[in-house]
């Protein structure tokens, strides 16, 4: 068990900086998820921690020891790969025992450790099979077993669920969570799937273009996204963004969109004061908009017409046209029939609005 500390870590490929000035403090036993779109540097970061990529600058410490110059085998880590990376020419038993044999652990101990891991992951009947005789889910379990059996300081997961179909992925997600309760090793999990990040992580690190956008708990990220990118990336369906002109009128701010406008009390959003006369980006989650009319002064009413409906069975998602903008509303009664062009009224609590500087940082209030 160990903490992992990254200090000003950079990775350059020629002129291109894949990871820029990354600093991260991962506590002992913590499960941290690195999430972001393809090419954001999350896998490169993980491979640098594993020792599979050299670091251009900065330091990485595992368990208080700087590991920059250590070979992967000397870092006491274990890694699960996207495509499982099981040794195809070995049986499942030999796959599990491989790491221990390399460390010259006595065969009796290896046998016990393999049996323990196999029991924990319910792969005992598969021990004599070859990896190619296993299903994707079974292979993933064996890959997990190969990590567990070594009892390393840190687990690294490189998109381990992305090769599974949706149903199996959901099941493996649950199994991973259960496994965490039994094996509380420090873990770093890389994914591009925000649902995996939200469900698995104690903390989430959102990355874009090699830069950390925000580090926080899943709820932090959902409720107070630090940038417009994080706001759009975390949450499904993703947040609605409306670029609006900000004006001040007496004790209210007026936000002018293309073809619509609404007012918000300025006392509650004092930080917006310095942006009066400019354009701000207003964000609102589809889950925070409902059909109806404002019930109190803290709610904002919006009028528009239905553009598209998406029927999900337990709910509908509406795309409502507001002037030239489109607003998605989640959680709509699935039995409601709303053909395209139907005029609707929607309402959102002012407290659920997020404000960003154009494409950039959150305007805190």
């Amino acid at each position: 068990m160990a903490e992992v500390i990254l200090t000003n870590v950079q990775k350059a490929y020629g002129e291109v900086l894949a990871v820029k000035e990354l600093s991260l403090d991962i506590k002992d036993h913590e499960f941290v998820v690195l999430v972001g779109p393809s090419g954001c540097g999350k896998s490169t970061t993980l491979r640098m921690i594993a020792g599979l990529e050299e670091i251009t600058s900065g330091t990485i410490a595992i368990g208080g020891r700087v590991v920059n110059d250590l070979q992967p085998r000397d870092r006491d880590i274990a890694m699960v790969f996207q495509n499982y990376a099981l040794y195809q020419h070995m049986s499942v038993r030999d796959n599990l025992a491989f790491g221990l044999r390399n460390r010259r652990v006595p065969e009796s101990e290896i046998g016990a450790a393999v049996a323990r891991a196999a029991k924990m992951l319910s792969i005992e009947p598969l021990l004599e099979r070859r990896p190619r005789q296993l299903s994707g889910g079974q292979q993933q379990r064996v890959a997990l077993g190969r990590c567990i059996v070594r009892n390393p300081k840190v687990f690294l997961f490189d998109e381990p669920l992305s090769n599974l179909d949706a149903q199996l992925r959901a099941q493996m997600r649950l199994e991973l969570k259960e496994l965490r309760q039994r094996v509380a090793t420090t873990s770093i999990f890389v994914t591009h799937d925000q649902v995996e990040a939200m469900t698995l992580g104690d903390r989430i690190v959102v990355m874009k273009d090699g830069v950390v956008q925000q580090v926080g708990t899943p709820l932090d990220l959902f409720r107070r996204p630090a940038t417009r990118f994080v706001a759009g990336f975390i949450g499904s369906p993703s947040m609605n963004f409306l670029d609006m002109q900000l004006a001040a009128e007496e004790d209210q701010f007026v936000l002018h969109g293309r073809g619509f406008a609404f007012r918000i009390p300025n006392g509650r959003f004092a930080a917006l004061g310095s942006h009066v006369g400019g354009v701000v980006c207003v964000g609102v989650r589809p889950q925070h908009v409902r059909l109806g009319t404002p019930a109190n002064a803290g709610e904002i009413g919006l009028r528009g017409t239905v553009a598209v409906t998406e029927q999900l069975g337990d709910e509908q998602i509406l795309a409502v046209r507001l002037g030239d903008n489109e607003l998605r509303i989640a959680g709509v009664d699935p039995d409601l029939t709303l053909p395209a062009g139907t005029a609707v009224e929607a309402v959102v609590a002012a407290g659920n609005l997020h404000f960003f500087q154009g494409e950039g940082a959150r305007i805190t209030g």
Binding site: R73, R75, A78, M79, Q82, N83, A85, Q88, H89, F98
Partner: protein, 283 residues
């Protein structure tokens, strides 16, 4: 309906898949004709080897058969020595070539940078040189290094040719093996070399077996290098065979008998190895 169609397609034989309907018979006849075309010279060779020296020009009309030709060639020391030398050279060339080709192919597959690029270019340039153009320089080099007419004098050129040709094929095998396995091995306690030997090489075994068989057959059948780079000290079977044509005449019956003897190990290797070759080259 679809299930029935699939089942019937699976149950169809080789000919009906390639040539459905009434063309099956024509296709089968064509296939037999092609097989006969290749088999006929071998059949004629075997027939000639069983005819007495006086009857080799009337193989098709003769009725007299004998195994004396085999007795005669097998009683010649040079033939036995050539058989032994060819076997040793083929086996050593295969082992040495694969040893170098494995690492060369792995480097070309896994590493980027000036050294792999230079190596790739060098191989490419050597491949562009016509085979026959190597012979004269190699003759002088082996003379100069005092390895003319020795195992090394023939082995080294063979290994060089194999490295140039098989490194590309080996690169293809390693390209088809997921590098994550090697990364996993490195995290599991192996060095880069350890990951290569314990994970990458065992995964490439089907391809390696195919190359080993092709390499062995190629060296066993090779004539040009053997002709130029060896003499009486290290006789090679293909050259000894050709020497039955000499200034006193042409001993076709003895040449045929030697060729049939030479055919046996090659046939065994081919029959044993064909499934590995097909499997390996499909990787």
């Amino acid at each position: 309906m679809t299930a029935i169609a699939v089942a019937s397609a699976q149950s169809r034989d080789f000919f009906s898949v390639l040539a459905p309907g009434g063309k099956r018979v024509l296709f089968a006849l064509a296939a037999v004709a092609v097989c006969l075309l290749f088999a006929f010279p071998v059949f004629w060779l075997a027939l000639t080897s069983l005819r007495p020296g006086t009857g080799v020009y009337y193989v098709h009309r003769g009725t007299e058969f004998t195994v004396d030709n085999f007795h005669e060639v097998l009683s010649q020391e040079i033939v036995l020595k050539a058989l032994f030398n060819s076997f040793i050279i083929s086996t050593l060339a295969t082992v040495l070539s694969l040893g170098v080709t494995m690492t060369s192919g792995y480097m070309l597959s896994r590493f980027k940078g000036p050294i792999p690029n230079a190596w790739f270019s060098l191989i490419y340039i050597f491949r562009c040189v016509p085979y026959v153009a190597w012979v004269l320089p190699l003759y002088f080099v082996t003379q100069r290094l005092n390895i003319f007419d020795t195992y090394w004098g023939l082995l080294l050129p063979h290994v060089a040719v194999h490295i140039c040709f098989f490194s590309w094929i080996m690169k293809g095998f390693f390209d088809g093996i997921d590098p994550s396995m090697e990364y996993a091995a490195m995290i599991d306690g192996c060095s880069r070399w350890g990951a290569f030997w314990r994970v990458a090489v065992p995964s490439a075994v089907p391809g390696l077996t195919a190359l080993a068989i092709l390499c062995w057959l190629y060296t066993w059948n090779e004539f040009l290098f053997a002709l130029i780079l060896t003499s009486h000290e290290t006789p090679i079977l293909t050259v000894v065979m050709a020497q039955f044509v000499h200034e006193l005449g042409m001993e076709w019956h003895l040449m045929s008998a030697t060729a049939v003897i030479a055919l046996v190990p090659a046939l065994i290797v081919t029959l044993f190895g064909q499934k590995y070759v097909i499997r390996g080259l499909k990787v």
